[in-house]
Amino acid sequence: MGIKEEIKSVLREAEIYRTQGLFNEAMVKFKHASELIEKNVKPESGKQLVDGITKKIELLKQTIAKYNDPAKPPEMPVEIQNLIKAKFSFSTDKESAALEGAIALTKFGQYERAIKEFKDLLKMESFRLVAAKNIIRCYLASSLTEGAVSQYKEWMTLDIFTLGQLEKIRFFLENLLKEKGIKSELPAVKEEKAVLKEDVAAKKVPEKAKPAIKPLIEMPETAKEEEEFLDVSSVGIILQMEGKKLPEIILDVSFQSGNVVSLLVPIREKFLIANMKAGVKLNDVQFYSPIAILNGSGVVSSFSRIGSGPKMGSYSLDLKMFTN
């Protein structure tokens, strides 16, 4: 193949990659074509061609930069958000499904809608703390640090949370802000709650700033690890029979709250079912999360048969997780 044909072939290839959306590959080929021209074609005839290729390469660089931009995903139309909520919640329990749907919205970057959903979930005692933490996360993910702080302050004036819950939320927010390198003096829970209530009612700033008051509950240093739990998508349980390890049983997590996961045990797992009840300790457990597979153990907090619905006959197992 003569050099002219070779250059044409490389340019053709580059163009096909460009139209296919393979921009990095196109750029490589255009650069190769440019080098071939510079090496083999006289400058007076090759310069225009090289300039043309250089422009294409610049455009490709801009396009690549645009696609690699980690900007916040756009808020989708309501119908799409409803689809995300419906299709990415897997629990058969309506309320758990609502939580999963809200979390799915967060994972798809639909923070405004997710905040609305989580706020609805604040009404439910069992999900209140999880929902509150996710609301905080959504604000911070949307780069609305002030929004997160204002939300926490607003909650302090309302009677939604117990003092203990508020303190956990404060600790949670404080740690997230610290991770972002943001210093923020969050009001402590007990007496400030009363002060803030008056402020909101009177809409005025107190004349004297009261000295910082020790929180009612001292959160230990390790509380961060207790509060921050990995999303676990499935659990592997290894049982023993007569001293021999049995094959690992993998169970899907239908719901997770803190370090307690709810698992669905299919009816075929007869040996597991026969040996489960509240209080049983499982010493050999693997927790599969998006980040890592963790080894650990678990304690059964509840175990019951599903009496109705599509999973009737299967069992629901709540397991408190301990990682090594």
């Binding site: 290839e13 959306g21 696609y67 689809l83 995300i84 299709k87 990415f88 899907d252 599969y288």
Partner: protein, 203 residues
Amino acid sequence: MAVFNLKNREIECKIVYYGPGRSGKTTNLEYIFKTYKKQVADQMVTIDTEGDRTLFFDFLPMGLGKIKGCDVKVQLYTVPGQVQYSSTRKLVLKGADGIVFVADSFTIRREKNILSLKDLDQNLKECGLNIFKIPLILQYNKRDVGGSIPIMSIEMMQNDLNKQLKVPFFPASALTGEGVGSSLKECMKLTLVHLQKEFKWAQ
């Protein structure tokens, strides 16, 4: 995970189209939507960027009619192929009952295919699934482009991607539709057989 309603004799299962970016996953679904309109239960949902890249996922619900007395519905999804959308891929993959892995036949994309298959393997493990056990077919797409630019031989792609898996494979061109229908049919067949064994729903 398949939703199985014994009382109403209904099965709904999920098939995910996986593969590296720009391999033709969305084009597969677009072809299916256009060609199998009678089976399509609703509009295709596609969420993409200005440049036609899948941002979140595509979704296409289909009804397959009655099979062994059960009303079978299948939901097709694609994942975003670009590397930075890893967490979205994991979420879309959750609950998958069958997978069509769309590989790009361009020689220049060889490494991307292999990395994407490894990514699938890893994500399935995190979902508690096994790539050797889940219904899976391989589609070697863009076979129509050969001649203009270098494409890999089927033997090379088999060696790269299917040496250990040994699953059914289909050369295809999602643009012309060649191999698209057969890939989907085979994946659905494998998925339904797998679900039959899981739920014994035919009995």
